[in-house]
Symmetry: C2
Subunit: 193 residues, 2 copies
């Protein structure tokens, strides 16, 4: 099987995350990111408006996909079934590039309070996107909040487990990992007391 | 009933949060915060090492109290009963100063991406503290994660509702608000599907 070949945008993200880990977010410049990725600065600016945008771009796509999946689930889907549809939609957009990025991103976040703050805000944004989509389906607020938080936890746990196995099979999809994590959380509701 | 009289540390927090709202976190200096609070810069530095610490100090106390409440719940308490004990412990430390701060903090966070990121990281830290305390009680991981997320949601919702009523009764405690929000979330587990 042919190895996956990343495009310029994906190489830029990988280069940026590695540089953030090595020398910190603040100390990393657009010129360094472009050089590490083997592209020119103008190629960087064709893909991203700045260093910050490079981190935010993926989050906006993810929020949109999660919300679309929730919105387009069948009318009779339960709140968690709608969340599962959101996870499937978002997972479908995550390929080998995202999988290889997982351990690198984890290292970068562990090394930087600033990236931890951004990562935390990202989780809040994903939960808010799903909560809004669930409320629009008529799900009452506490249930919508809870189901959305479970969806974010499941997506993060599923992504972590999937990306830990990134050297095994390039074609393995994320969705089963995310859905299994959601099912674990659903089962856990029975033992909350 | 006598109005509550804030100490220097509390006045500094209120002054800082108001200045962050008016002119942003980055543009606000320690000298400005001290002046607004009516104290000297050296008084500021007796209470906080810097501007950032002023925001983080409360969070560390809150994480510790939540975890202690969970840890010291009766051995036969269910995961959510242990979380409720954590909420009660943490709520007990929140007085009129925290209540009056609520709407100001909300305005400051709404006005600043940097404060949104810090606020999001704070939620992650509170959830992690409760998850660790629940796992130490022998609660399996998915249940511990879920119960801790429910605890954070309940604390945030309870605090928001409590602080919206801050002009009514200085002595009203936070705990009933947080516990009612937790009960709403517990009831919502039945309708997740």
């Amino acid at each position: 099987m042919a190895r996956w070949q990343p495009g310029a945008a994906q190489r830029l993200v990988v280069a940026a995350v590695d540089l953030f880990t090595e020398q910190g977010y603040d100390a990393t410049t657009v010129a360094q990111i472009a050089e590490r990725a083997g592209v020119t600065k103008s190629t960087f600016f064709r893909h991203f408006s700045d260093k910050r945008e490079l981190l935010v771009a993926g989050q906006e796509t993810l929020s949109r996909l999660l919300a679309e999946g929730v919105a387009e689930a069948p009318a009779d889907a339960s709140p968690l079934e709608a969340v599962a549809a959101g996870l499937e939609r978002a997972s479908g957009a995550m390929g080998p590039a995202n999988r290889e990025l997982g351990p690198r991103l984890k290292a970068a976040v562990a090394a930087s309070t600033e990236l931890q703050e951004r990562d935390a805000l990202k989780s809040v944004g994903l939960a808010a996107a799903m909560t809004t989509a669930l409320v629009a389906r008529g799900v009452p607020e506490p249930t919508a909040h809870l189901a959305a938080e479970m969806g974010v936890l499941a997506f993060k746990q599923g992504y972590a487990r999937w990306s830990e196995g990134g050297d095994r099979d390039d074609e393995e999809p994320l969705a089963p990992y995310a859905l299994a994590a959601l099912e674990d959380l659903r089962a856990a509701t029975a033992s909350l007391g």
